[in-house]
């Protein structure tokens, strides 16, 4: 026993030194400033306001984008309306071919996109390279094939496009969220005006270039940069008939309220506070990997992150020991380094929010654990963090932190696990770890959440519908169900 213990402790403190392995950036060209993508071209904005977009890993300015104003939004929506007439009527198989083409270009320019995504957003290159960009391309490829098969998907009703879709996306998966929004909208025959998040506009600007390269008809996709104000102008424009938003529950509620009585169609993909539930019979090593992936993937900037770990009491100690050891091996640092596990926090504001919530956890009485971890001097960073001794009433157990912060709670019986997991206004995702098949299905049935990962976590696929229960929003993205928000069915 003693020997085993010592060797484990040694492992925990042992450091593997890696030589730096930075991804090269010389093949990437970021313009000094970007205009707006309206009617098929990069056009000069009416708005005189510009703001910088920075690299959160070193706070250096990468470029400057426009804060689109009312006139710009109106122009973009008009361009989309004009394009809708022809786009909704061209042969569906031609629509499909444009989407296939976009998917292929995304694959061809994958590394460039991955590097830009990492520079602008702070996520590790291995994630943008292996997750964000391939999934974005796959999403376009999947929905491309649907464009000329809608009647087969929805028999006995006449599926028709809605019109201009106004889409507002977050900064955690900039290009992937763009793909989730644009691909199904276009496949169904709609045209779009999309606003990327203010801290991560660059991959959307590259996507504008890809639309031009694909010779997508003018105005089918329009991209406006800006902050919340621009977003609210987009969703409230009277000619926008469909609104899709991914972001915080707070803003989602504002949008739902602001669209009241307008007859606009709305889908919301909002926040989460997912439970990741580990039973005593679970394969612990696999569970530890799932827990780490669940909350530290993308610095925890994931709406479906497994931010509440529910551990069966009997395995609390061994699991926590393994988890802490694993935390000690995570490598935090330069997002462009191919060995980096945890990159930079997306923005100063987000860093402050995370720090504030972590402070509240300490104040409320939870026990903080952070592995020894050197943070770079410049940029925005937060070490992987774990709280034990957490009560369900603590803010860190109730509120979405959107950072690398895990709250650990315990349970004794399956019923208690269900009760605790569902004790939240959110309902986006849940995780279950157990070796017992019947229990997996029993738990999956009882989770009030749109996605249940059993013996895995944070898996995504274009064919797999994603979206929330309760205050995590409504509507699905991905799969056949992902077409529904963009179609009229009568």
């Amino acid at each position: 026993m003693a020997i085993a213990k010592r060797s484990r402790t040694e492992l925990a403190t042992q450091r593997f030194e890696y030589a730096p392995a930075p991804e090269s950036t010389d093949h990437v060209k970021i313009e000094k400033r970007y205009d707006l993508f309206i009617g098929g071209h990069m056009v000069k904005a009416h708005s005189q306001k510009r703001f910088p977009t920075i690299n959160p890993a070193n706070e250096e300015k990468l470029s400057e984008v426009v804060e689109a104003d009312e006139v710009d939004v109106d122009r973009a929506v008009k361009a989309a309306s004009k394009a809708f007439d022809s786009w909704s009527r061209i042969g569906p198989s031609r629509r499909a071919r444009y989407l296939f083409r976009i998917s292929r270009i995304l694959q061809e320019r994958a590394r460039e996109l991955a590097v830009v995504e990492t520079m602008d957003g702070g996520k590790p290159i291995k994630e943008s390279r292996d997750v964000d960009i391939p999934l974005s391309a796959a999403h376009f490829f999947y929905y491309a094939g649907w464009a000329d098969k809608l009647e087969w998907a929805f028999p006995n009703v006449k599926p028709r496009p809605i019109g201009v879709a106004g889409q507002v996306i977050p900064w955690n998966f900039p290009l992937l969220m763009l793909a989730w929004k644009i691909a199904p909208a276009l496949a169904a025959g709609n045209t779009v005006v999309l606003k990327p998040a203010e801290t991560t506009p660059l991959s959307a600007m590259l996507f504008a270039d890809i639309c031009m390269q694909a010779e997508l008809p003018d105005g089918v996709v329009n991209i406006l940069t800006g902050a919340g104000k621009t977003g609210s102008l987009v969703v409230s424009h009277p000619a926008v008939r469909k609104v899709a938003f991914t972001g915080s529950t707070e803003v989602g509620k504002l949008i739902q309220r602001s669209l009241a009585g307008t007859g606009k169609r709305l889908t919301l993909e909002l926040g989460g506070k997912a439970a990741n539930i580990v039973f005593e019979d679970a394969p612990l090593d696999a569970a530890v990997e799932g827990i780490v992936n669940g909350i530290y993937f993308n610095q925890g900037h994931v709406c479906c992150a497994g931010s509440r770990l529910l551990v069966q009491e009997s395995i609390f100690e061994p699991l926590l020991e393994k988890l802490k050891i694993r935390l000690g091996t995570l490598r935090l640092g330069d997002p462009l380094d191919k060995n980096t596990d945890i990159g930079a926090i997306n923005s100063k504001a987000q860093l402050e929010k995370i720090a504030g919530l972590v402070e509240s956890g300490v104040e409320e009485g939870a026990e903080l654990y952070q592995p020894e971890c050197k943070l770079p001097e410049r940029g925005f960073w937060f070490p992987p963090t774990l709280f034990t001794n957490v009560s369900q009433s603590y803010r860190i157990a109730r509120e979405e932190i959107f950072g690398p912060v895990l709250s650990v709670l315990t349970f004794r019986t399956p019923d208690e696990a269900v009760e605790k997991a569902n004790n939240t206004p959110y309902g986006l995702s849940a995780g279950v770890w157990t070796d017992k098949g019947s229990r997996i299905l029993w738990m999956a049935e009882r989770m009030r959440a749109g996605v249940v990962w059993a013996n895995t976590f944070n898996r995504f696929d274009p064919t797999s519908p994603f979206g929330g229960y309760k205050e995590s929003g409504y509507g699905r993205e991905g799969g056949l169900h992902g077409l529904l928000p963009y179609l009229e069915l009568n």
């Binding site: 739902q256 009241a260 013996n455 895995t456 898996r459 696929d461 519908p465 929003g473």
Partner: protein, 268 residues
Amino acid sequence: MDVRKTYKLYVGGEFVRSESGRAYRPDGSVNVPRGSRKDLRDAVRAARSALGGWSTRTAMNRGQILYRAAEMLDGRRAQFVEVLGGGRASAREVEQAVEALVWYAGWTDKLAQVAGNTNPVAGPYFNFTIPEPTGVVGIVAPEEPALAGLVRRIAPALCGGNTVVVLVPESHPLPGLTLAEVLATSDLPGGVVNVIAGYRKELLPWLAAHMDVNAIDVAGCTPEEVASIEKVAAENVKRVVKHGADVMSPHLITAFMEMKTVWHPIGV
């Protein structure tokens, strides 16, 4: 001499007077209980407690109970024709209501096969999507057709495993209140359907704002009412369901449902 019927609200499987003790006379003669905010809250609580049992019944069992409701309604045709005012149009409406119950009864154990999927993800995972009930559904019943319209809204919500709180039309509450008598004798567990009558302006804002109501069907609302409902519905991201009163469709069942996707690795 007639033995007259006292009309009551239907809450938690029981026929009750309004806790407020009030009544109103929409047609000038019959006293109808004028439900209060408290009655509405009781109804939501009853619906929430009934949800676990109803949503976990087998789909086949839910189908049998909906079909039983059709049988009970069919057996009381004459009474409903009278409540609706008599004549061929009323007879036709009762037939439509029976038909809606039979149609949705047959959907309970087929919906998941039409609206669910297995999804061929690009990796060693088994992945499937199934529809599940949204939860407690508020239904603002349309004024016309008072019976068929109401049944066409309730049936899809029940078909999917939800429990409901119905506001019957203020000016025309009797068909809905009488329908409660049919449902009470159809093996539908208490609390699965709750029926409240009363003044619309007293009840609607509270139903729309209730934090334990997951979805609201606005078939019986004016555009102004829809706008104000949508505003307060945002407080708990309530689903606001807007379909014509004459629609029957599996898409109406799924309008009261959530899609759940489950992943599991495949391996030895």
